[in-house]
Symmetry: C2
Subunit: 427 residues, 2 copies
């Protein structure tokens, strides 16, 4: 039978909803919250009481603005706890500590080398970033409500196929096992696409949307898929691998070892290949990664660059049309550093190619834009995921052990996934 959500699941969703509304909105009255979430006044009241007991909601003064009697404004109490988000990417590790209001209170970056063959080096780098970020936040480990670890995945475990992905990524399961005992608990894991999706659901264009797709453009590319307001994880937590869908049968070689993948055209190495096709030996080909992308943005008047951007926009529009045809989302959002750097240059031709290629009704009312969220979405998304997990767990503890001392909430460890899936999106 299809699984139906239980009333406790509904209640968990409501609680997340309410916290999300406050975290994003800043302050709100109970009435505002009922309006924003669609929950009943009674449900809002009960949830507020619970969350206040847990120290997550505090008063923020009195609202005299309305027509009725003055009412109490509420806010998330940042001091009520902290959250750790970790982004393990191909070329760097970033750890960020947030307070309970999701304000960044400490962050650290550590560069990593794609050539490192051992997970030990990566694990050490992760722990170094985490300890620096914690130190900068001024919080103690026992302030943490939870942590989220975003791990790059792998699209293949066949060594012949992955010569060009980070060497250590073949041992991603080892890495997770190696890290888990040393990281705060509870620890949730996800792939970066799903983390970015969570970030957009909380802060970006996916808010309030039933079906939305967030496409991340960087070295690797992929999609976070939101259905009914939740990020789709898939049977093996690998949903969103749009970067390795086919754009051209038997086309360009992709670094995943296959041919004709979307990523081989609209990932940064793909864009380099296009410039190479257009003008072999072009100056910009001497630059790498972000410098290359920056260079393209600054040289848009150069005919070879203009042609490269034009082809890239077309490839992107056609590739996006596939995900639009299948999912028929309300909104489609581009994010990641390539999107931020080149979005304005690419969007008009991308929209045109998408409208030309997508089944007409699916594209008719679709909004395609670059995300307004310009932070490291992976770290934020992982912190948000850890927060959601904390809220659900805390509620479970309340249900199973009423009147429990908050300090004694059992630590629920999320089972490790079989492995953690797709291409790094923020490489």
């Amino acid at each position: 039978m299809t699984r139906t959500r239980s009333s406790s699941e509904i209640r968990d969703a409501s609680r997340r909803e309410l916290v999300r509304a406050l975290a994003v909105g800043g302050t709100a009255t109970r009435t505002d919250l009922a309006r924003a979430t669609g929950l009943s006044a009674a449900t809002v009241s009960n949830l507020v009481t619970e969350l206040r007991e847990d120290g997550l909601i505090a008063d923020a003064g009195i609202d005299n603005g309305g027509a009725g009697r003055p009412t109490t404004l509420l806010r998330i109490d940042g001091a009520g706890g902290a959250l750790l988000g970790i982004d393990v990417a191909e070329t760097y590790i970033r750890a960020v500590v947030f307070d309970a209001a999701l304000a960044e209170i400490g962050a650290a970056n550590v560069d990593v080398d794609e050539a490192w063959a051992s997970t030990d080096l990566i694990a050490d780098a992760v722990l170094q970033a985490v300890s620096q970020a914690m130190e900068r936040s001024g919080r103690q480990p026992d302030h943490l409500l939870g942590a989220g670890l975003g791990l790059p995945g792998l699209t293949s475990t066949d060594p012949r196929r992955i010569a060009s992905t980070p060497a250590w990524a073949t041992h991603i399961r080892d890495l997770e096992d190696r890290l888990r005992p040393h990281l705060p608990s509870p620890l949730v894991t996800a792939n970066p696409l799903q983390a970015v999706g969570h970030s957009e659901v909380w802060f970006g264009t996916a808010r309030g949307r039933s079906t939305a797709v967030v496409v991340n453009l960087g070295t690797g590319v992929g999609a976070g898929i939101i259905v009914e307001g939740r990020v789709l994880r898939g049977a093996t937590r690998s949903a969103g691998e749009w970067g390795h869908t086919v754009l051209e049968l038997d086309g360009r070689p992709c670094r995943c070892g296959r041919r004709g993948c979307v990523e081989a055209y609209v990932g940064v190495p793909g864009i380099r290949q296009t410039l190479h096709d257009v003008a072999d030996g072009h100056d910009l080909l001497g630059l790498h990664q972000r410098d290359f992308v920056q260079g393209l943005g600054e040289a848009a008047d150069d005919p070879a660059v203009a042609e490269t951007l034009s082809r890239t926009a077309r490839y992107l529009g056609i590739a996006l049309s596939d995900i639009v045809a299948v999912l028929n989302p309300e909104v489609l959002t581009l994010t990641g550093w390539t999107a931020w750097a080149l979005g304005d240059l690419l969007l008009p031709a991308t929209r045109a190619a998408l409208a030309e290629r997508a089944p007409e009704l699916t594209a008719a009312r679709l909004a395609l834009d670059v995300s307004p969220v310009r932070v490291n979405s992976v770290a934020t998304g992982m912190a948000v995921l850890a927060f959601e997990h904390h809220l659900d767990t805390r509620a479970l503890a309340r249900r199973t052990r009423p009147r429990l001392d908050p300090a004694a909430v059992p630590v629920v460890t999320v089972p490790a996934p079989a492995a953690s899936a797709p291409q790094p999106v923020a490489g």
Copy 2:
């Protein structure tokens, strides 16, 4: 804010769940139903009472088999109502009347001509099929709990693009408006891909699955997408247009007017094109549609046919890998007459191409099979959709007007969709 499901929505889902369990399982005790649906004993009891009052559930004897005391067996009472499912395809219209236990009690087919330019001819054919099916069922119109109309969609309204799709399909909105006053009410509409998805959720491989994809192979091809046990409709009810995603950039012309669509390779005209590429002038090219597909199945030893099937299996596996990469479903099911005729011949090479092409983790635990449901899934799916709508509507009436005379339930007409979306799948 993301919409959270209300408790009445949960209750509606539970009611559908329970009816589904009985419709599929035949007979069950309340305890069986609680186990099958995951609902509490109290909820099952309340729902059974409601559904019994509505005449939809009847006793089916006593179960003495268990260890405990004898308990009442329940069944759906087929006489409790009837449902009409209508499949408007490119080359035929099929109307089927089901009793409330979803047993077929009357059906009629009317052939249609793709060249008909007027919706009047199609509308007349639909009404003729409906009236024949009703007559054969022996039920009166007032026995109907609802009707479902599956309409082929259009991927373009640009006349230059759709020369090869049915001429009348350009007027699909007119057709719906023209039919609505003459068809039973409430009338729900959906596209055939979504209808097939509903059918698989009730009777097929999507039962009990969180994420599942049902791919329909015929003249046109497309996918029914199930997420969290519900069929994904999308922002403009057009989700599932996998047939018009890109397999080969600037590849074969597709009848939608674009190039390189999946359908141009694995739809029946696409398979014909492949045979033509392999052996121009081959005998089988003289046959059309189902005869052609049947002929392929019978001539699998013919080297040109074998090569055609081998290429088709590869195209199909690669095209399926795209939807697997994006959605990471638990199960992937092939249905439709091409799948039924050629599935056994295609599956081994299709599975191999899919495993080779899909991101490894997404394919690792994926079950790919031909659906065991071998009926007209569109008509069944539309009847099921009408039944779900009836159950939800009836419950709404109960909530808003308690103790209402069942005969006085208000007729709720589902708003017509902007238009009804993708390619016909059962053409």
